[in-house]
Symmetry: C2
Subunit: 415 residues, 2 copies
């Protein structure tokens, strides 16, 4: 007899048959006596179809009108899912973002939620209805339609769960949970029963695209228990929760994350004077290019080498900017390398366990993987390596931290 | 410097290219200094696509959810047209029915407009913006999305024109105006410059599907000057207006309307007792079958023949009901005839001109068309004839009332 918010993404509602399957799943929860609020995305392909229409008309479509346009996609799904529930004898009612009302700021196409009016939803739940809400959208204070940006349906679900004080927010996807690493690279990758919000953030930002980062942050901030599970198979999925709820005996490392999506830029022979880092990175930041790992080597004769990584898509812009900087600084040379990868070990347990870094570096050295850069945080150690070594490094670390061992030994997944 | 409401139907906005053409037309009016409110339908095919999705899920889709579903079609068009206007440097803003707000009753899928809040629209017009409104939809007092039924976009346009006290409501279609009769039947059919609301109602109900009947009634009730014109060609179209604005010297007849969509039922040998009409038509009315022309012949020996027409699609149901009635009344026989047609001469001028009926009957007699039934109103005379004579009758009457003559002679069209 819990209050559950369930979110189904575009693939899960990609056809009328799949919407019927979702209705069957939701109906099961309702029949078990739970109060259910369902958040849905647009049917897969629909948002792209609408964007193509807009692009056929205007090269850079007006953001306000773009929101009016694409928000129809989720509205269609809410109506169809409500019909599919009615067919099963389940009372249900659809709401779009304006109707709920989900109040956002007025930053069209990337709005942020300010507040949610839960009165209507509670009234419907009390009347025994399933409430079906359009994800990804809201309204500003003037009644203009806004959207939260791609993947915003996850955020809608978490925000609704927080506003309604739901017992759990369930995110249904096409995978059955969060894994110790990508199963396509490591056969022995295992689904985690639990993971902390912080770990999930590190895993998500490294390319495990199970959940939107903003949704995880939001869930962490408001302590909304979040569960990732499969739309297509039964199973408990992975619960994302607060650290203190985890077993103190939990192992050190939650998983191995990685990212092929970065590129490395090195400015060689920079005069080693104060403010040089700002002179190099300032113009990059002004161009809205995000910088990830940064390394400044000590060079010879008052010269230094300055290296950093950016998203691979930003490489052409970043190097164009740096060409100018090299000239201005009288530096020797710019070198770019898109063939790199980032591999990280992630786990809140490393806070209290020394030696994670040494296990990591030793394991990589033993298989001949050269580490180019290192970056650390409280719960993560990342290394930049040559891209061709990525799979080898991930498999090696997965074994080194006993993640792919017998669950009895690894422990963490069943903690 | 007028305030104009323009409505573009599904065919006119059926592709991004066509939406661009509509924007070009609207931009022209705006550049000429007019205030413009545009009402749009869903892109042609879109409403049917949505209905098919609903039917794939639920045999009889829930009306409330049907409205949530199909109302997205018009919303998409408002966004795309606004973008197309922005591209041309015209400031524009889209609104759906809830945003305007167009308040309706709660009769989902066939709601009626109760009131329109014109504050937001006037504010935008004053700021120099074109306002683009989704046709066909509104909201009930609880914020539920409603729709006005098929063709409801015409009604939205007329209601907005009335609420805004617009100088003219222009309905853009794929024909360039209202004709004296169907040009596919009579080569000499001519576009009318003007027609009265009452005449238009008679023409429309006879199958000239240029305008929704409800929209014409609404326009007449609120004295909104209505103009029908082509989306694809330039031209003045046809102005639908109040009678007293027309030239008193206008000719008698506006046009010849017709309808192949009726069928005739005759109950022969009915006992001629009081209440027999009710006994025959009562069960037909209870089955929601609309009856058009009714004729009761005087028969022999206290018996009478009772004839009436219904929509051809209702014939099977109507005859099944009458089979039982024939038995109950002890009537002699039921005869059905789907091969009939109705031809009408329509014109407010016939009120003050005697002899319209005699010209009509004489002209038909001269070409050997037998009249089966006659029905008259203040501004219309209709005859039921054998279907095979339809084209002959329409051409004959079109000539008899000098509608296809040299415009100099016919006069009406240029009145």
């Amino acid at each position: 007899m819990a209050l559950i918010v369930q979110k189904f993404g575009g693939t899960s509602v990609g056809s009328t048959e799949r919407i019927d399957n979702v209705a069957e799943k939701v109906a099961g929860f309702r029949r078990d006596g739970h109060d259910v609020v369902v958040v849905v995305s647009a049917m897969s392909g629909e948002t792209n179809r609408l964007i193509e229409l807009a692009n056929a008309i205007q090269e850079q479509p007006t953001p306000r009108e773009m929101d009016v346009l694409v928000s129809t996609g989720e509205q269609v799904t809410t109506a169809l899912l409500s019909m599919a529930l009615h067919k099963r004898g389940i009372d249900a009612k659809s709401y779009n973002g304006s109707q709920v009302r989900i109040l956002t700021d007025d930053a069209h196409t990337k709005a942020r939620i300010r507040s949610i009016d839960d009165a209507r939803i509670h009234a419907d739940l009390n009347a025994g209805r399933v409430v079906v809400v359009a994800g990804f959208q809201g309204t500003d204070e003037h009644g203009n339609i806004t959207t939260l940006g791609r993947g915003g349906s996850d955020t809608t679900a978490v925000a609704l769960a927080a506003a309604l004080k739901a017992d759990e927010c369930q995110i249904y996807t096409d995978v059955d949970g969060v894994y110790t690493t990508d199963p396509r690279i490591v056969d022995g990758a295992r689904r985690l029963e639990k993971i902390t919000f912080e770990e999930m953030l590190e895993m998500a930002s490294m390319g495990s695209k199970v959940l939107q980062i903003r949704a995880v942050e939001f869930a962490g901030k408001y302590s909304v228990p979040l569960r990732v599970l499969s739309s297509f198979e039964a199973g408990p999925g992975t619960l994302i929760t607060m650290e203190d709820e985890l077993d103190v005996e939990a192992p050190t490392i939650a998983g191995i994350a990685f990212n092929r999506d970065e590129a490395k830029l090195t400015v060689l022979g920079v005069p080693d004077t104060p403010g040089v880092a700002y002179q190099i990175l300032g113009p990059i930041g002004e161009a809205n290019i995000e910088v990830d790992v940064i390394l400044q080597n000590i060079g010879e004769e008052g010269k230094t080498d300055f290296t950093f990584t950016v998203g691979r898509g930003d490489l052409p812009r970043a190097s164009a900017i740096l060409e100018r900087t090299v000239e201005e600084l009288g530096a020797a040379e710019l070198r770019v390398d898109p063939k790199i990868a980032k591999v990280s070990v992630v786990g809140v347990g490393m806070r209290s366990h020394a030696g994670v870094a040494s296990i990591m570096f030793k394991a990589l050295a033993e298989v001949g993987v050269n580490i180019q850069m290192i970056s650390t945080s409280e719960i993560k150690i990342s290394v930049i390596i040559e891209e061709k070594f990525l799979e080898l490094a991930v498999r090696t670390l997965h074994s080194a931290f006993e993640l792919d061992a017998d669950p009895e030994l690894a422990g963490y997944a069943n903690a």
